[in-house]
C-alpha cells in the first residue's frame, strides 16, 4: 500500500518536471510583471474605491462614488475630450507621414541610407530633450515659427499660450517625435515585400499608384495594423511633452488624461479619484484595442 502511494508520489514529482522547468524560465518575467504591472494594477483598482489620506493610504470606502464624481466633473470630461482630439490629430497624420517617408526611403537610390538614418533619427531623441527644443521653436517672440510667420507678414501665434492652438502645437511636436519609430517599422515592412511581386506587376503594366493600392498596402497591412495599435496606445498615454510644454494649460486645453491623473495624485493628493481615472483610461484603451482588432482583422492579410 505504502509502496504504491510512494510510487505515485515519485511519478507526480516526475510528471511535473516539465512544468517546473517552464516555471523556472518564466520566473524572471513573472517577478518583473508582478512588481511593476500586476501589483500596481490591482492596487490602482483597489484604491479607486476609496478616499485616501495624505500618505495615499486608503481611508474611507466609497464604492463607485469616485467614478460617479468623475463622470460629472467638467474638468475630467474636458480631459477626455482633449485626449480623443489629441489621438485624432496625432495618430492618422503621424502614420501617413511615416508611410510616405518610408515609401520614399524604400526606393533604391544612391545615398538613400543617409535619408533612412535621418528619417529614423527622432527615435533616438528623448521626449524631454525634444520637448525643450520645441519649447524654443514655439517661443512667442524668439521662436522660429513666429519668425517664419513674420517673414510673410502673417499674424503672430501664441503657440502654447493660446487655448485654441495649444493642443495643435503639442500634437505637432508629438507627430514629429513618433515619426521615427513608425517610419522604421513601416520601412521594415516594405523591405519584407518580395521584389518579384513588383516585377511581375511591372510586366503586366501596373502603374505606381496601382501597385501601391493593390500590392504594397495589402502586403503592408500587418505592419500598419501593428503600428496603428502601438501609436494609439502611446497617444492615449502621452505625458512627457505635456509636462514640459504646457503643464496641461492653458485653461485645461491640453490636460490629457495621464497628465490629469498625475496632477490629481501627486499635486492634489487625491489618489482615489486619480486611480479611478487610471482605471477609466485602462478601459478606454482596452475598448479601442478590442474594436481595432475586431474591425481590422478582416483587412489584414497575414502571409
Amino acid at each position: 500500500m505504502t509502496a504504491i502511494t510512494k510510487h505515485r508520489k515519485i511519478s507526480n514529482w516526475k510528471r511535473s518536471s516539465n512544468a517546473r522547468t517552464a516555471l523556472l524560465y518564466l520566473l524572471p518575467s513573472i517577478i518583473l510583471f508582478t512588481v511593476f504591472v500586476f501589483y500596481p494594477m490591482f492596487r490602482t483598482i483597489y484604491l479607486s474605491f476609496f478616499l485616501t489620506d495624505q500618505e495615499g493610504e486608503a481611508a474611507i470606502f466609497v464604492g463607485l462614488e469616485n467614478y460617479a464624481y468623475l463622470l460629472e466633473s467638467d474638468a475630467f470630461l474636458n480631459s477626455i475630450k482633449a485626449t480623443f482630439l489629441f489621438v485624432l490629430y496625432t495618430v492618422p497624420t503621424g502614420i501617413i507621414i511615416a508611410l510616405i517617408l518610408a515609401l520614399l526611403a524604400n526606393e533604391k537610390l544612391k545615398g538613400i541610407g543617409f535619408f533612412r538614418t535621418i528619417y529614423a533619427s527622432t527615435m533616438g531623441v528623448s521626449v524631454a530633450a525634444s520637448s525643450v527644443v520645441w519649447l524654443f521653436l514655439f517661443h512667442p517672440s524668439v521662436g522660429m515659427f513666429n519668425k517664419f510667420l513674420n517673414i510673410f507678414n502673417l499674424p503672430q501665434i501664441e503657440w502654447l499660450l493660446d487655448p485654441t492652438w495649444a493642443l495643435f502645437s503639442v500634437s505637432l511636436s508629438t507627430i514629429w517625435l513618433n515619426t521615427g519609430f513608425s517610419f522604421l517599422i513601416i520601412l521594415g515592412g516594405l523591405q519584407n515585400i518580395d521584389e518579384y511581386l513588383y516585377e511581375s506587376a511591372r510586366i503586366d503594366g501596373a502603374s505606381y499608384w496601382y501597385r501601391l493600392k493593390r500590392i504594397t498596402i495589402p502586403m503592408l497591412s500587418p505592419t500598419l495594423f501593428f503600428i496603428i495599435t502601438i501609436s494609439l496606445i502611446n497617444a492615449f498615454q502621452t505625458f512627457g511633452q505635456i509636462d514640459i510644454l504646457t503643464k496641461g494649460g492653458p485653461s485645461q486645453s491640453t490636460n490629457l488624461i495621464v497628465y490629469s491623473i498625475y496632477r490629481e495624485a501627486f499635486i492634489n493628493y487625491q489618489f482615489g479619484t486619480a486611480s479611478a481615472q487610471a482605471v477609466f483610461l485602462f478601459i478606454c484603451i482596452l475598448i479601442v484595442t478590442i474594436l481595432q482588432f475586431k474591425l481590422g482583422e478582416k483587412k489584414v492579410h497575414y502571409q
Binding site: S200, I203, D204, G205, P218
Partner: protein
Amino acid sequence: MKRVELIGISKSYDKQSNVISNINVTIEPGEFFVLVGPSGCGKSTMLRMIAGLEDITDGVLKIGDIEVNDLPPSKRDLSMVFQNYALYPHLSVEENIQFGLHVKKVDKKERAKRTTEVAEMLGLTDYLKRKPRELSGGQRQRVALARAIVTEAPICLMDEPLSNLDAKLRAHMRSEIRQIQRRLGITMIYVTHDQIEAMTMGDRIMILHEGSIQQIGKPIDIYNNPANPFVATFIGSPPMNLATGVGDKITSTIRLSDSMVIPIPLEDAHYLTEQVIVGIRPEHIKAATKVSAEKDKFVVEVSNVEILGNETIFTFILNDAPWQVKWSGQWQIEIGDKIPLMMNYASFCFFNSETKEIIKTPSDVENHVFGKEVFV
C-alpha cells in the same frame, strides 16, 4: 508570335567587366528556346534584360522587328513566370490570374471567359477561390503559368519555373509546358540550369558559360557534336569522359595513359599534336568480347557501380579522373572487378587543347538516329 533578336547584347554592372558579353541570337516565332548554363552564367540576367527588368548595357534587342531597348516591360508585349512564382499572397487564385487583365483594362466578360478557359486548361477550376498559401507547390506553379498564359502575350519568358518542384512533378510539368506552348504557338524563352529540361523541352538550346555563348543548336546536334569540352561535359548525363592525350607521330597514336593508346588512321594524322583533349560519351565505351582483337582491348578496374534497373553505370579511374561507362541492361559488376573494354575510333571527339574548339566530331552515333521510314 514574334521574333526576338539579340544583337551584340552585353551587360555590365560596374562598367568594367561584362557579366554577359556580345550575345547574338535570333529566336524564331513560335520557337521553344532554352537558355541553359550553370549557376551564375548570366542566363537569368539575360532573360531579365529581354523582359526589361534590367537595363541593356550594350547592343540592340529587337522584338518583332522593333528595337525595344528603351521600352518598359509592359510595352514589350510579353509575359513572365518567375522562379518563386511571384503570386500575390493576399489575392485569390482567380484574382491572381486576372491581375494582368485588370491592369490592361480588359472588360469583365472577357476576363471571366479567359480565366475559365485557362483554369480549365491547367486544372485549376476547383481552386479559383483559394489563396496561394492554401495550394501545393505544383498548384502554385500552375497558377503562375495560368497568369502568364491568360494575357495572351505572343512571347513568354520562364525563369527556372520548375526548380522548386519535386522530381516526379517536374517531369510531368515539363511535358505539360511543352504541350501548352505547342498548342498556343507562343514564342517561349525558357531559362534552366537543368540539362535534362533543356534537352527534352527545347526546339533549340543555347548554352551559356561565364556570360558568353558556348553553342546554339538543336539539342540532339549539341549532344552529338559539342562545340567544346564545357558543352561536352555539361550536356549529357553522365557527362562525356575527357582526358588530355599526347600525340606521337612515330607510332601514329594518341596516348591517354600507359594502358590506353588510341591508334590514329593515316588520313587523320593532323590530329597528332603535342596535346589534344580526347572525349568519348559513356555509352560509346563497349565491352570487349572474346572475338575482339587483343590490341584493341584495355582492362580497367571498377571503382563504383550504379545499377538503375534498365542501365548500368560504372566508374573507373583514368589519370586520376573518373571515367564513366553506361551500358543498357543489368550487368553483374562488382567494385574491384577488372573489365576488358574497347572504344571505337569513330566515337571519339577531339578538342584543340588551346582554343578548346572541337576538331574531330564523332562520326559514329550508332543507330540512335531513326528515320521515320523505320516504322512501318
